[in-house]
């Protein structure tokens, strides 16, 4: 008799409906979960022996658009790259900056020139001379501060690399173990959807550090590779190493061996760049900052220091400075040495012979730095010579462009602002791209209206199947009553 067939079909229908309700409730409860892929149930008609056997649940489908996901991950890597640069450069601009678009160094320098011109009006005044010398000392101190700020940012970039590599290693290890778990669950026939969600989130986290591509394997596991070809995970997770340097000074670079690059499974990845082909994400940005961008900023500052020290050491400006002796501004109390230029801005200081804080005599500004005796106290000619020296165009040590001292300072401030502006422009571009991709991805998520409508359908189907069971039961009972 086909009563048992009907009953059987109705029971499969009830099972399928309750499974559907379970999936709907799972979707609704995860409506706010980021990284949760909307589930749906796959139903097919069952076949038993040559006849239909009701409905069967063949699987739970995770709705994910792999192309969109991959694009979004690449956009996110680019965004964290640009964001890291822009943040660091913004901070640099703020520490070096002043009021109304100027920079702190320009303000200090203007204060010095002010004091110098005031001293030229009354050269006999010891107070005015001391003030002028002190202001020049402030300029030197300002350059040392700027050097410290730049090196501090390099230290922060280095520390960020340490953190990124740690995150990368744990992330990859995590994904490898999730791969194993998913393989096991699939082999035993269970539904690995939750683990798939977790693995997707873990890959998302790693994707901000290095831009990567996910490779689906047929057994449900994935491999990971950077978009430029380095394997991150292929059955086994790659292990990256990096030696952090807590204190960084201007002369420490990767080329000099004082700063380290990345190692992969114990081997140096790329001695030339330090990062190999792992650039493009937050890690790439940190390396770029530590090894290129901030180093260039320091070089610009050092060139400024060269210009100032040379101006204050030139016998044409003060004839008493002869034989290559140190001028009013020195390289750590020594004369300028063009070969030892790296980090000069961190060593620039007043000559102790003129610095009142170290027992020097400020009136040497008026008489000449190495003048054997004091001249007429009302003589403003040397002071005026210094004023002219600041406004004289002087060739650059490297490129030979001639600029006055204030022009050089303004050019340096402009270069720092320029770096920040282009970094911010890059951020707004990659941010817009990421925005639209993320939005499209989220649109594939759980829609609670849709799920509720599904629930209505499920209710009806359950009621219909229950009705079938009731009718078959009635038919059987009626038969029994014969």
């Amino acid at each position: 008799m086909s009563f048992s067939g009907a009953l059987n079909n109705a029971i499969t229908g009830l099972t399928a409906s309750s499974r559907l309700a379970e999936v709907v409730s799972s979707n609704l409860s995860n409506a706010l979960t980021e990284g949760y892929a909307r589930r749906s149930v796959e139903l097919t008609p069952a076949q038993i022996g040559g006849r239909g056997g009701g409905v069967q649940v063949t699987g739970i489908v995770r709705f994910v658009d792999p192309g969109l996901l991959a694009d979004r991950r690449l956009a996110e890597a680019a965004l964290s790259n640009d964001q890291r640069s822009a943040d660091s450069l913004s901070r640099l601009e703020t520490t070096l900056g002043g009021v109304d678009g100027s920079s702190k160094l320009i303000e200090l320098f203007a204060g010095f020139e002010r004091a110098l011109i005031t001293a030229s009006s009354d050269p006999a005044s010891e107070t005015r001379l001391a003030t002028a010398v002190t202001r020049l000392g402030d300029v030197a101190a300002g350059m040392q501060d700027a050097t410290r700020s730049i090196q501090k940012l390099r230290q922060e970039a280095d520390a960020a690399i340490v953190a990124d590599i740690a995150k990368l290693n744990t992330g990859l290890a995590n994904i490898a173990s999730l791969n194993k778990d998913i393989l096991r669950l699939k082999a035993s026939g269970s539904d690995p959807s939750a683990l798939l969600d977790m693995r997707q989130t873990a890959v998302d986290e790693v994707a901000t550090i290095v831009p990567l591509r996910e490779i689906q394997r047929s057994n449900g596991t994935i491999g990971l590779m950077t978009s430029t070809g380095t394997t991150l995970l292929d059955g086994r997770a790659a292990v990256f190493g990096f030696q952090g340097t807590p204190t960084i000074t201007a002369d420490m670079t990767r080329e000099s061996g004082a700063l380290s690059g990345l190692t992969l499974d114990g081997r140096m990845i790329d001695p030339d760049t330090g990062i190999g082909r792992l650039g493009g994400g937050a890690l790439g940005a940190n390396f770029m900052l530590r090894d290129k961008t901030l180093v260039d900023a320091q070089t610009g500052l050092d060139d400024l220091a060269v210009d100032l020290i040379a101006r204050f050491q030139d016998p044409q400006n003060d004839p008493t400075i002869t034989g290559g002796a140190a001028g009013i501004l020195t390289d750590g109390n020594n004369p300028l040495n063009l070969i030892d230029r790296v980090g000069l801005a961190g060593r620039i200081s007043l000559n102790p012979a003129i610095d009142p804080l170290r027992g020097g005599i400020p009136s040497r500004l008026r008489d000449g730095l190495y003048a054997p005796e004091t001249g007429p106290v009302g003589d403003s000619s040397q002071i005026n010579a210094w004023v002219k020296a600041l406004a004289a165009p002087r060739p650059d040590a490297l490129t030979g462009t001639t600029q006055t001292a204030p022009e050089r300072l303004a050019a340096f401030a402009e270069s720092i602002s320029g770096l920040r502006l282009s970094a911010q422009a890059a951020v707004s571009f990659s941010s817009a791209k990421w925005d639209s991709l993320r939005q499209a991805e989220l649109a594939n998520g759980v829609d609670s209206d849709f799920e509720l409508q599904q629930l209505i359908k499920v209710e009806k189907a359950y009621a219909a199947n229950a009705r079938v069971i009731e009718t078959v039961n009635f038919m059987m009972q009626r038969l029994m009553e014969i």
């Binding site: 009302g378 403003s380 000619s381 303004a410 602002s417 759980v446 849709f450």
Partner: protein, 334 residues
């Protein structure tokens, strides 16, 4: 892209990002309106801040130069008033000396010599004026007064004249003490700077030199002629006729010296004019730089206010939309 459903989070994400954009615009505009300046100056200038910094630097320079030009002006005014005083004393003495003629008595000669001493004293103290602790006529040795006291001048020259009280010897002694020309004379009347003059910067590209000290010939001539009459009181051996002729020639020389002093005053006057012109020029330059700076970075208050208003409206509309959308859910209807 699914064709049957749109995720909840998508709408949420979009509205959060939009709200963020509008609110940061609002924050920027309100700070811009309050300060009168654009908030991000390098962005406004497309990264070309060098010109702005150049303008600000020049303005600072002009500011300090304007301050010190007041000091320079004070110094020149003081020099000018000293010259006027010296000239007045010269004229007074000159008219006093004119009263002596061949028939004057010894007493009259003595009184006239006394008057000359008084005049010398006034002139020397005028020339020794210090303004703000700085001497005006010592050249670059501004901490030293230029001339030794008048009584010392007279006594030292009288001692140098000694016993030979002829006119020729008197002239020689006076000359020696003013120029240090004779052998063995190391001390002169003038104690100030002999190798240079005071220089002052009056504009970013101009300097003036005050080529005047108490040792300048135009001033020392007047002093010499005054001294010639002043020493006569102590020259007991000199004949009365010599004394009278000395006085008469001094008076004529003092008359001639007026042209020199007038020239000196004119020279200082032209320096004063140069300073005034420089001051006016610097002020004009400063104003034009200020206008240029404002053109670059000032925020037009009307434009900023209207943009602020539209941002505010935008935010209100956004909030309304968010509130409405949050009510659109199937849950309310089931």
């Amino acid at each position: 892209m699914s064709k049957v459903s749109i995720g909840d989070l998508s709408q949420n994400f979009k509205s959060i990002r939009q709200g963020f954009t509008i609110k940061s615009d609002l924050a920027n505009l309100s700070s811009s309106l309050s300060s009168g300046r654009v908030t991000d100056i390098p962005k406004e200038l497309n990264g070309q801040t060098a010109r702005l910094n150049g303008l600000n630097y020049s303005r600072e320079q002009l500011d300090v130069l304007q301050d010190i030009s007041k000091e320079t002006m004070l110094m020149l005014d003081s020099i000018q008033s000293v010259l006027v005083r010296v000239d007045d004393k010269r004229a007074e003495l000159m008219s006093r000396l004119f009263t002596i003629n061949d028939s004057s008595s010894q007493d009259q000669v003595a009184l006239t010599s006394q008057a000359a001493r008084q005049a010398l004293d006034d002139m020397v103290s005028a020339l020794n004026t210090k303004v703000g602790g700085r001497a005006l006529f010592s050249g670059r040795d501004v901490n030293e007064v230029p001339l030794i006291p008048a009584s010392q001048i007279v006594s030292e020259i009288v001692a140098a004249i000694g016993t030979d009280q002829s006119i020729a010897n008197m002239e020689r002694a006076i000359e020696d003490w003013f120029t240090g020309a004779s052998s063995g004379a190391t001390a002169t009347v003038y104690r100030g700077d002999t190798s240079g003059f005071m220089k002052r910067r009056i504009s970013p590209d101009k300097e003036i030199t005050i080529e005047l000290t108490a040792n300048s010939e135009k001033i020392s001539e007047t002093l010499k002629q005054t001294v010639r009459s002043a020493v006569l009181l102590d020259l007991t051996e000199m004949t009365p006729s010599d004394k009278i002729s000395t006085i008469k020639s001094s008076s004529v020389s003092l008359f001639n010296a007026s042209a020199d002093l007038a020239n000196t005053q004119a020279m200082i006057g032209s320096l004063q004019e140069a300073v005034t012109t420089a001051q006016v020029e610097m002020k004009a330059r400063d104003v034009s730089f200020e206008i240029a700076v404002n053109d670059l970075i000032a925020a037009d208050p009307f434009e900023t206010a209207s943009r602020l208003q539209s941002a505010q409206l935008q935010l209100e509309k956004h909030y309304t939309v968010v509130a409405r959308m949050s009510q659109l859910s199937l849950l309310r209807f089931i």
